[in-house]
Symmetry: C2
Subunit: 412 residues, 2 copies
């Protein structure tokens, strides 16, 4: 028997208890021993809950119990999770987590502490919920130079974009529905502004590069400016619009961005709908791969946490090296990063505005919607973010152009 504890008895915490109960025998076989939940830390009481008797409000009960070998930290947020995790790892207790905020903020420090005490700090559930992606990066893509990771890493925004695409609804209506269904928080900012996928791609990028990508350095745009008209252009061009968090390694450097992105229907990410997540990984040997699944939810997230607990059980007393140092990665300046874009141009005079576009963006293509009589879209390729901004500013100065309604990046 291996004694374990859970910090936080919310959705994921209760999911972990459920998975360990439901699949206990299978898990024991794979872990080499039975995983027993001895304590659950939560501020609340849970009268009538099957685990009511082992709920504690005091973290010291867990820290001071020397029989505890593995702890699942699923409280969320940086504190007190950071302090608790540090104390456990310093004591040689392995910790698994779904806490992307904590991993993105303090990953390398916690990994180093675990290494120093022959414990393990695993965080498969922090990115892509149930989708195995962290372990594959650490153990399956070891023959490759990874050239790109592009992920749909937030189920809420993917649900909203899928809804808006399928039904032509506005962002606000789709967000309301996501909230009513429990997919979106009452305060949905972390999702719709892209802060959540930003932290997740920071974790993946750090693992790929072996150094720290600071999430504060990542250019991040959400989906709250997306309109039904934007999505009509996207459909007309046989693409899907997704909130994509990506890392790319170019000869000139490394960049990481989180932005809405128009993806051609032939690309596997284009078919990832509803609240599903997916991570596209391109290596110089393995070529294109994609991992698809539930990016959130009680049991899928718990599945990844418990798989990490099994891994910890298989490696009790032995640290499995994770290559992520605290050295900071210098990302390419945003202005230098490559970009393709669809620019929605509002005009006073169509002909003059088209001429103005062709003058500013030589060789650009045009797209129009039948029912839009005061705008067209310009498709420009092989720009940089810097040149795109400059040229859009120049375009706005043209008298034939009344406004730029939106700019949507696209992938070829």
């Amino acid at each position: 028997m291996i004694n374990t504890a859970i910090l936080g008895y919310g959705t994921v915490g209760s999911g972990i208890a459920e998975v360990l109960t439901m699949n206990g025998e299978l898990i024991a076989k794979r872990a080499g021993d039975r995983l027993e939940i001895k304590h659950i830390l939560d501020l609340r009481d849970f009268p009538g809950d099957p685990f009511e008797s082992i709920i504690t409000h005091d973290f010291e009960d867990i820290l001071n119990d020397d029989s505890i070998k593995i702890v699942a930290e699923v409280m969320g947020g940086v504190e007190p999770a950071y302090t608790f995790t540090k104390k456990l790892l310093q004591k040689g207790v392995s910790v698994v987590t779904s806490n992307k905020e904590l991993v993105a903020a303090h990953g390398p420090e916690l990994i180093a502490i675990a290494a120093s005490t022959n414990a393990n700090y695993n965080f498969e559930a922090s990115v892509g919920g149930g989708i195995p992606i962290i372990r594959p990066i650490n153990t399956s893509f070891t023959a490759d130079e990874i050239l790109e990771i592009s992920g749909i890493l937030n189920g809420t925004t993917n649900f909203i974009l899928t809804k808006m695409t399928a039904e032509g609804t506005s962002f606000d209506v789709a967000l309301k529905e996501a909230q009513d269904l429990g997919y979106a928080e009452r305060n949905p900012e972390a999702d719709i502004k892209g802060f959540d996928p930003c932290r997740k791609i920071a974790i993946l990028a750090s693992l790929v590069l072996g150094k720290t990508v600071d999430y504060n350095d990542i250019y991040t745009e959400g989906i709250d400016k997306i309109t039904p008209v934007d999505l009509e252009y996207v459909k007309k061009l046989n693409c899907a619009l997704k909130l994509v968090a990506s890392l790319k390694l170019l000869d000139e450097g490394v960049f990481v961005k989180v932005t809405p992105l128009m993806i051609p229907m032939a690309h596997p990410l284009s078919m990832v709908n509803d609240s599903y997540n997916a991570v596209f990984v391109k290596g110089n040997a393995v070529e294109n791969t994609m991992f698809y699944g539930r990016g959130a939810g009680k049991l899928p997230t718990a599945s990844a946490c418990v798989a990490d607990m099994v891994d910890s059980a298989r490696n009790l007393g032995k640290n499995v090296k994770i290559d992520w140092s605290s050295e900071k990665v210098q990302l390419m300046p945003l202005d230098n990063t490559p970009v393709n874009a669809l620019i929605r141009v509002k005009y006073n005079s169509e002909k003059d505005a088209r001429n103005a576009c062709s003058e500013v963006f030589s060789g650009c293509k045009f797209a129009t919607l039948n029912h839009c009589f005061d705008e067209f879209a310009v498709l420009v390729e092989n720009e940089t973010e810097g040149s795109l901004s400059e040229k859009c500013a120049a375009l706005k100065e043209k008298s034939a152009v009344s406004d730029i309604a939106n700019i949507i990046r696209f992938e070829n």
Copy 2:
């Protein structure tokens, strides 16, 4: 430095040499030491090849070189690969392979030998080429009871079906094109008859169940009977036709089948086109997941082999347990397994034939194609393979029915 050898300098073998050269430094960092190729076994000579000087025609050169710690066996076929692998593992040398025939035929024996000598026998590349699927089953889905694995595991047949669907070409024309492009062998039987995916699903099913699924027990149907008219029905019903190898765990038992399968466009497997492969895995906690990528090809397959070599290097002298015993799994008799089917009915009298269908398959649905004046399709659900056969035989007896042109299974 860790000395290694390659058995077989064909497509995959030369790919391994290429990956180890191209990504040598990264691989050394991840493996903890440089992987050096000391011998390559092949019957041929390779004048002018960068590895010309280390080619040997004699396996004993490798077996008797005590400095060799890891060997990649990429010869294909059961013998002499089986004998060579056994001798190496018995000596404590770790072996990685892409050889699905050998793994399907002798996996548990070779795994047991490796365990007894503290070596490892890894075979990620034997299923799904570059797609990480074996390691995720062994290390990532450890919290789940896996309920289903459904894979598009053969790139040649997927290329042919994609071609037939997109262009309305016949099977023969699409096969010819696959051969001309080098996707299909001159003798394409192993692919088009489904023997190749049959061995691959036998390997996955054995790993999921921890016991041996004998590939001889798996009902296997190829794609050579598929016609353009079949595919018109498939399209009309908003589905895609794929050659699917699947394992399902039901309350009544376990079944494994390889058949063409009509898949609704909302299912992630439906969008796996061209020569891509994918494996859909459903667990009772993780829910639906899918792994997508190149199922074959020089570098993708080599990527999986080299990742296994890195894993072997990280675990030199220490066996990593693989749960696959030689005990045989008793599969459900085919006749008892559940099935839905589209039955193409040729008729003498449409009205009478429809009545006959409704009589035999109560509650069945119908589909028609505009240009087909002597047939319709019947859609039947919740049958067993046994009841389906019986009822189709009964239908054929009806005077209004002249023939059954084809039967296509489908997934809801």
